[in-house]
Symmetry: C2
Subunit: 425 residues, 2 copies
């Protein structure tokens, strides 16, 4: 069978990653710390060259007329790069999950059995724009003894090429295979689809990007994919909520950083408090720049209050806003709220505000998203906030890892058994 | 958009399963025990009808000229059915993993955070021939609060239809939604492919069947799939092995039950002991009915010993024999053995026989299959043998669950956080 050039390229990429993963799998924590420190030092030493490469990306983005927000995301300066490098130090100080043994016991059949935590092997990461992901993911993968194949956005190709070259040289300087980190440096989209078929070599795919990328990976990948990072998040204000204290939490969930996945998308208000509370919400949030995508009931209550309101469609309620637009819907009761969440949520983060212990327990039990909050902002769903020390992604699927993924999500276990020339009877 | 009849059918199937899963998710252990006991009682009460339905499947299979082995697998009799029902009692007595909380702590930001173990939701299982799987999987799913969509082989359609009807009636008798268990009762293959696209409703697919089914699921499914049950298993006889004791372990791994996934496929022999040991193997295994698929070196050593030998190709070494054929290859040393395993293994079970502690540790560290043995038969890779009390499948992939999957593999967790109207700073 004739292979295309792309197939050959991907085949080699996978084979090299797999070979490199064998060398990484049994490194000690001390060796991995030395490796990560060498990478940090090499990035520091190459600061000027990295900024020059990044400037090319920025210039190209400006020439193509990309938005200022996007250009800001891809731009590096000395302080941002220093921040990225400083984060490597944080990862170095995290404890190494590899090698831990758990569930050890002697079985009735005489075998001594244990489970040992080991690297996954080869991880493929597909991401957009931000060049910090290149460093973050390479470092987290190496910390857990995994090889990684990176595919960044074409907007940061020059930055990513040099970042990965510097990282690869640092790996080689430690006597380790530089193919532990490989970048797909062609913008050819067929290579993404090809990567998703490389199940012989790639153990897990992590897409870090929007809905279209997630969907493409779910549909095309033949290996496990961790979907995540899409948050259609809800906050339900129960009839027993402390409405004065509720306002600040709602504002925090919506306004503190509206462009991220754990920001609030739809506010659900119990109808018993709606006529009193909805105008208060409008008064509190409008000065913060919030406009509303409202159900017909709440739209009526918002009328004449000088806020921007549009009538919400079903599609609107399924939308991740990533902006200062807030969906608002008046619900009959807590079960109506739960039913709305089950229909429209992406399974990321939901909250209830209530002083009623029964309502709190019912919401916790019935809502099955990755993170469920009582009397707190949805903005806490984050590896750092949850004390994981690092964040690979926020998973919205239920297998392997759910919610913020720390280092452990980059590992698996194997069963090890010792016998004495033992046969099964 | 016009939906086909199949799409509508699958849509309803998924929607019903999802709705049923909500009712199951918060059942107590006592309620689930009552449910399982009711199912066992209903199956017992319907023994004669179930045997009559099964007899139709057997008659159809005989008319179609299916092999005696296959017919034996699908046939029920009073004692087999009683065994299947007795297994429900075993599952009832297992401890319920749902509701357990772990990793609980108070975060610096003031939130009280915990992870609670919850059901996955809806599980799809695609399997072949054996009607016991219908009962086993339904019971394990219900025990963990999951709804299940079953798709059995067409050879057991009559048996599966009645089994699932009896189970559904028992569920309804407990005041629970009978759609907690649904059977796809049409042999239309398009429904399997359609099921694999129902990611909106189905949280996990478990294919229990051969290579072709596994591959179809890996390629077509848009939700997570647990691949498994294909074992190309290796046993390496190190130069320091106790050769006398080794023979019984090799025989056990190959002969005790050659048709299952943890049976031995390829024996790797260190070349330093090959000329002495290979003839002993032949002498020991040939009377047990074993024939050999041998590398050219071992074929030479087997010549003239009155055993059946064919020369192995690369494809042969990648084959799961499921028969009394044993692959045999002479390797230069332990690293050559490890390299062979990395190339040909399906990641199921591998063993080393050795008295050398260094060889044992090296093999354990370098071989990354689901189960790795020192001085034991590969036949132990099994939920029952590993003390899990039940077995959903044996996973050969690295995410979520690896090796024998017990009840916990049918669960996930959600993060629960309590604040006091807490905002992120």
């Amino acid at each position: 069978m004739n292979q295309t050039y792309e197939q050959q390229y991907l085949q080699q990429l996978g084979e090299r990653a797999k070979q490199a993963s064998y060398a990484l799998a049994n490194l000690s924590a001390v060796q991995k710390a030395a490796l990560l420190n060498a990478i940090a030092a090499a990035l520091t030493a190459n600061t000027q060259a990295l900024l020059t490469a990044n400037a090319k990306d920025v210039a190209a983005a400006q020439a193509e007329g990309l938005s200022a927000a996007l250009i800001d995301r891809l731009q590096l300066d000395e302080s941002r790069l220093a921040g990225i490098i400083a984060d490597i130090g944080t990862v170095v100080r995290l404890s190494d999950p590899i090698g831990e043994e758990f569930g050890s016991r002697v079985l009735d059949n005489g075998l001594r059995l244990t489970r040992r935590r080991v690297p996954l092997g080869v991880i493929g990461v597909i991401y957009e724009a931000r060049p910090n992901v290149t460093v973050d993911i390479a470092v987290l993968a190496l910390k857990t003894g995994n090889a990684v194949i990176l595919r960044g956005g074409k907007e940061t190709l020059e930055s990513n090429k040099l970042l990965s070259e510097v990282i690869r040289s640092a790996i080689a300087s430690q006597g380790l295979p530089q193919d532990a980190v490989q970048l797909i440096d062609s913008p050819d989209r067929a290579l993404v689809t090809g990567l998703l078929k490389l199940d012989r070599y790639v153990d897990m795919i992590v897409p870090r990007g929007g809905q279209a990328l997630q969907r493409h990976c779910a549909e095309q990948a033949t290996m496990p994919v961790i979907l995540g990072g899409i948050g259609v998040c809800h906050l339900y204000v129960d009839k027993q909520a402390d409405l004065k204290r509720a306002l600040a939490v709602i504002a925090n969930a919506k306004v503190q950083r509206p462009t991220v996945c754990n920001a609030l998308d739809t506010l659900l208000v119990d109808e018993l408090i709606a006529s009193c509370f909805v105008p208060q919400i409008a008064k509190y949030l409008a000065p913060l720049g919030v406009c509303f995508s409202a159900c017909s009931h709440s739209a009526g209550l918002l009328e004449g209050l000088g806020v921007t309101v549009t009538l919400a469609t079903d599609e609107d309620f399924a939308n991740e806003w990533l902006s200062l637009t807030l969906g608002i819907k008046i619900v009959k009761d807590i079960d109506d709220a739960i039913s709305h969440i089950r229909t429209y949520s992406s399974g990321h983060s939901e909250a209830i505000l209530t002083d009623d212990i029964h309502a709190a327990a019912h919401f916790m039990n019935q809502v099955n998203s990755a993170a469920v909050y009582v009397n707190a902002s949805t903005r806490f769903t984050d590896g750092g906030q949850f004390g994981l020390g690092a964040e690979v992604a926020v998973s919205t699927q239920k297998l392997h890892a759910r919610g913020p993924m720390g280092l452990e999500a980059l590992t698996t276990y194997k069963w090890l058994a010792w016998g004495d020339y033992t046969s099964r009877s």
